[in-house]
Structures are given as structure tokens and as C-alpha cells.
């Protein structure tokens, strides 16, 4: 799942694809690079300029329609917590609502049900949208993430969302410090063992930066290490900035696990 931001201020790309044509170019590039999904966002995850629902719709719905027209089979996700936005982007052709703020707007799941869309249920530790963590405490962060996302998932299903179209996301760094994100990664198998497909969003995040003491732009290696561990534990969707590298990691881990054939084997077998 490749990240496509129509924002001026997202932490990693800093507005590089804010322009609609640039965002569409990014979609073309990530599809060529091997992405199976795109995740279009109109609001920076962290604190920043106020973007109301109307502006968020203006940024995302039009792009969704353009991508839908050009890539009929691509899975289009929109990263939003607002049901008004969800409604507009589903009408424009979105397949998946990435509720990155964990059910803050309870009507978003109803929109997913109404449009037969998929839904990502995310653990935020109870934080309001765009709020950074502060002294966040958990007795057991993994248990908390599982409990919270499963409640959201079951609620979504009870509202009519297709059970096959619900994913859960422990949401690294959302309502978590670096220790807590590392523990989620280490114990991700507990989350995949629930049977719900797990989405992880690790790409270039602060827990990688703090762990390796590296600034933005130097976190790819750490991101890929966390990606490999998550893949080993059975995560199924990876929300990423770098598609080619992620695809290589996932193919490599799948081959180590034995679920994918290597591309071309000759050594020692001639």
C-alpha cells in the first residue's frame, strides 16, 4: 500500500505530491513499482494546519476519481477519520477507508458498510486525531491494541461491513512511544494470530528514527528491518513510502518462509 499524500506538510514528503497532477504521477510510479494499493491522504497525521472536511474532500475525492478511471483494478484506500469524507471518496470510487484515528468518528464504519467498502481498524490508545502521544501508559500495549482493534472490527461487522474486508492496524507511533512500537513489532504474531488481516504502517516513522538515532531520509534500512520482522509474523498489508524496496523485502521474507518460490535458482543444481 503506497502512500500518496495530497498534503503540504506530511512528515516525510513535505508536500511533494500536494499538486493533483504530481499526486497522479506518484500513483503511476508506485503502480509501476509493484504496489497493489494506494492510500490517498488529505490531512497530515500529526498536528498542523487546520484542514476542514470540505478541504479534505477537495483534496482527495477528485484524485480518487482520476485514479479509479486510470486504474480500474487498483485498490484505492483513503486515509481519513471523517465520515463525510469517507462518503465522498467512496462515491468517487474508493475501495477502502483507512480509519487511522481508530473510530474517532463512529459513523465512518457505517459509511464503509453503506458502500460495501473495506475498513482499517486502528489502535490509537484513545487519542483524538492528530494528537501526538504524551506519557502514554499501557499495562500491555499488545493486548490493548488487540482488544481495541478487535472491538472496532466486530463493531464494523455488526454494522454491515463485510467481515472479509476488515483489517486491523496496531498503528506504530500512534499513541505509543518508541518502546511500545518496538514491542508491537516484536509481538506482532499475537495480533496476526487473531485471524484478522493485519496492516502495518512503519514507513520512516519516529520509532525507527529514535531506535537508530537517524533523521528523516535515513530511516529506510530500519523501516525495512521492521518490515521483514512484521512479514515474518504474518502481517499482510504494508503502508509505505518506498515501494520497490518493500516489495523486495516482502518477496525475500516470503521465500525464506517458503510461501514464495525464488525467482531463478541455478547455483549448485547444474
Amino acid at each position: 500500500m503506497a502512500i500518496v499524500n495530497r498534503t503540504r506538510d506530511s512528515f516525510y514528503d513535505q508536500g511533494a505530491t500536494f499538486d493533483e497532477e504530481r499526486a497522479l504521477d506518484r500513483v503511476r510510479q508506485v503502480v509501476a513499482d509493484g504496489a497493489d494499493m494506494v492510500d490517498i491522504g488529505g490531512v497530515k497525521a500529526g498536528p498542523g494546519d487546520d484542514i476542514d472536511a470540505a478541504e479534505e474532500i477537495r483534496r482527495t475525492a477528485g484524485l480518487v476519481a482520476l485514479v479509479r478511471a486510470e486504474f480500474p483494478d487498483l485498490v484505492i484506500s483513503v486515509d481519513t477519520w471523517r465520515s463525510q469524507v469517507g462518503r465522498e471518496v467512496c462515491a468517487a470510487g474508493a475501495d477502502l477507508l483507512n480509519d487511522a484515528w481508530g473510530g474517532h468518528d463512529p459513523e465512518l464504519a457505517e459509511v464503509a458498510a453503506e458502500y460495501d467498502a473495506a475498513l482499517v481498524c486502528t489502535h490509537t490508545g484513545g487519542l483524538a486525531p492528530r494528537t501526538p502521544p504524551h506519557r502514554q501508559e499501557y499495562d500491555d500495549v499488545v493486548a490493548h491494541a488487540i482488544d481495541s482493534t478487535l472491538k472496532l472490527a466486530e463493531r464494523a461487522v455488526s454494522l454491515g461491513v463485510d467481515r472479509q474486508r476488515v483489517l486491523i492496524d496496531p498503528a506504530h507511533d500512534f499513541g505509543k512511544n518508541t518502546w511500545q512500537s518496538l514491542e508491537l513489532t516484536r509481538r506482532l504474531d499475537e495480533m496476526t494470530a487473531t485471524g484478522w488481516p493485519v496492516l502495518v504502517s512503519l514507513s520512516n516513522k519516529d520509532f525507527v528514527g529514535e531506535t537508530l538515532d537517524l533523521p528523516l531520509g535515513e530511516r529506510l534500512t530500519g523501516t525495512l528491518a521492521a518490515t521483514a520482522v512484521s512479514a515474518w509474523h504474518g502481517a499482510q498489508v504494508y503502508r509505505v513510502h518506498e515501494v520497490v524496496e518493500t516489495r523486495q523485502i516482502l518477496d525475500m521474507v516470503a521465500s525464506i518462509k517458503g510461501t514464495r518460490s525464488p525467482a531463478r535458482v541455478v547455483r549448485g543444481l547444474a
Binding site: S261, P262, A270
Partner: protein, 239 residues
């Protein structure tokens, strides 16, 4: 009596599942299947397979190739399967249209002349019409990236083998230098010798009709060393 003979190599890569997503040995496998189709086109009573292995013995033809010992994600089969050369033959025969009887013999890599002759005589003495399939490779020392690195002597040695296969020259194959063949990591010396000896017996004893007298009509379908090991695919028609 032997009516046809065929030669195929036995790299593990002929097992399709071992090369991953890409079928690296597709052309080689096609050549092998053509050779088997040609060798069995006259409906012989039996296909007799001879391939190199650690020991000389007969093998149960119901045994499966033991592919998993080379890898893949499949589980090892319970009990041991066929040795590589016979396993490749078994697979090729399964992939071919041949559904008739099969008999599998291994010949020790270092089998001395009497052991070669003994097996060859047993095959040649039979009354049923036989397609003889010999599994063997040339030298594995044909380049910097070859399994045995490079040995300049491999090239004339393999050329001579190729010429003998192309000419239906049973004497040349019977008289290959066993010690040199071992040094050059030649994987077909003993099997080729069994084939040549058995064919020679058949041609000599039965006076099988052939335009050039006591020589089979030979066709080489493949002769190349894509990974530093020489592979030959050939057929010999004896009538």
C-alpha cells in the same frame, strides 16, 4: 533386443520446481522429451534406464524422484527415493507420453569394465524390444563458474564424447578413460559405457539391419554447457 537408445543429462534443474519462478532448463527438458518420444515411438516392450549412482543395482520403478533433498519447500518424502540420475529419468518418463513398462538400473560412477559389461550383457541378452535410456553428463569443469572450475582437458574430452554420440561410435564410448573422466567430473562415463556395450552386443549378435553395418543411426538433439556442465541429448536408432 535393443531397438533404440537415448541419452539425457541429469542435472537437478530438470526438476521444474527447483529453479523457482523461472524455468531455466526448459529447452533442455524439451530436448530430452523429444529424445524419449523418438526412442519410444515404435512401441518397444520396455524402457530400460541406466544412470550413474553410488552403487550398481536395480531399483524399484515405483519409487519417486527425491527432489526435496535438493531443496524446494516440499517435505522430504518418507524413505529414500531414487538416486538423482534415475529420478530425473523417472520424471522425464512421467512427463513423456510413455506409459509402458520401465526398468531402472544404476551403475556405480567408478564401475570397472567387468561390471559395465555384466550389466550391458544382461540388458542386451533380453528378447523383448527395448528402448535403452542412458542418463549421463559430460564434464563439470568447463568454466570459471562451473561446479568444478575449469580444466582445459575437459574440452577435448567432451568433444570426443559428443562426436562418439553423434557417430553412434560404441567403441569410443566404451573406451573412455575412466580415471580422467573422474578427474574431469564427468557424470556419464559408466552409464554411457553400459549403453555402448549393450548396443554393440545387440548390433554384433543380432546383425541388426543398418545401412552402415554395425553402427546405429545417431541424432544429437542438444549439446551445450549453459552452467559449466556439458549436457548431451541424443538418440540412436538400431533398426
Amino acid at each position: 533386443m535393443i531397438v533404440t537408445a537415448a541419452v539425457c543429462p541429469h542435472p537437478p534443474l530438470l526438476f521444474r520446481e527447483l529453479s523457482g519462478l523461472e524455468d531455466v532448463a526448459g529447452d533442455l527438458r524439451e530436448a530430452c522429451l523429444s529424445a524419449i518420444a523418438s526412442a519410444t515411438s515404435d512401441d518397444p516392450d520396455l524402457v530400460v534406464v541406466v544412470g550413474g549412482a553410488e552403487v550398481t543395482r536395480r531399483w524399484d520403478e515405483r519409487l519417486a524422484p527425491d527432489v526435496a533433498k535438493f531443496g524446494t519447500t516440499g517435505a522430504r518424502s518418507a524413505g529414500s527415493g531414487l538416486p538423482l540420475s534415475l529420478g530425473v529419468a523417472r520424471r522425464l518418463l512421467d512427463e513423456s507420453r510413455w506409459r509402458g513398462a520401465v526398468e531402472l538400473h544404476s551403475i556405480a560412477w567408478d564401475a570397472p569394465a567387468d561390471e559395465v559389461t555384466s550389466l550391458a550383457d544382461k540388458i542386451a541378452a533380453r528378447d523383448d524390444s527395448i528402448a535403452l535410456l542412458a542418463l549421463g553428463d559430460g564434464s563439470a569443469r568447463r568454466g570459471d563458474k562451473a561446479p568444478g572450475y575449469v580444466d582445459a582437458r575437459a574440452f577435448p574430452f567432451d568433444e570426443a564424447t559428443g562426436r562418439a554420440l553423434a557417430d553412434g561410435d560404441t567403441d569410443a564410448l566404451t573406451q573412455m578413460d575412466a580415471a580422467l573422466a573422474e578427474e574431469l567430473m564427468v557424470g556419464g562415463r559408466a552409464a554411457f559405457a553400459v549403453m555402448a556395450t549393450a548396443v554393440h552386443r545387440t548390433v554384433g549378435n543380432k546383425a541388426v539391419v543398418h545401412e552402415k553395418g554395425a553402427k546405429p543411426r545417431a541424432t544429437v538433439l542438444y549439446q551445450d554447457d549453459p552452467w559449466g556442465v556439458m549436457y548431451y541429448v541424443a538418440t540412436w536408432q538400431l533398426r
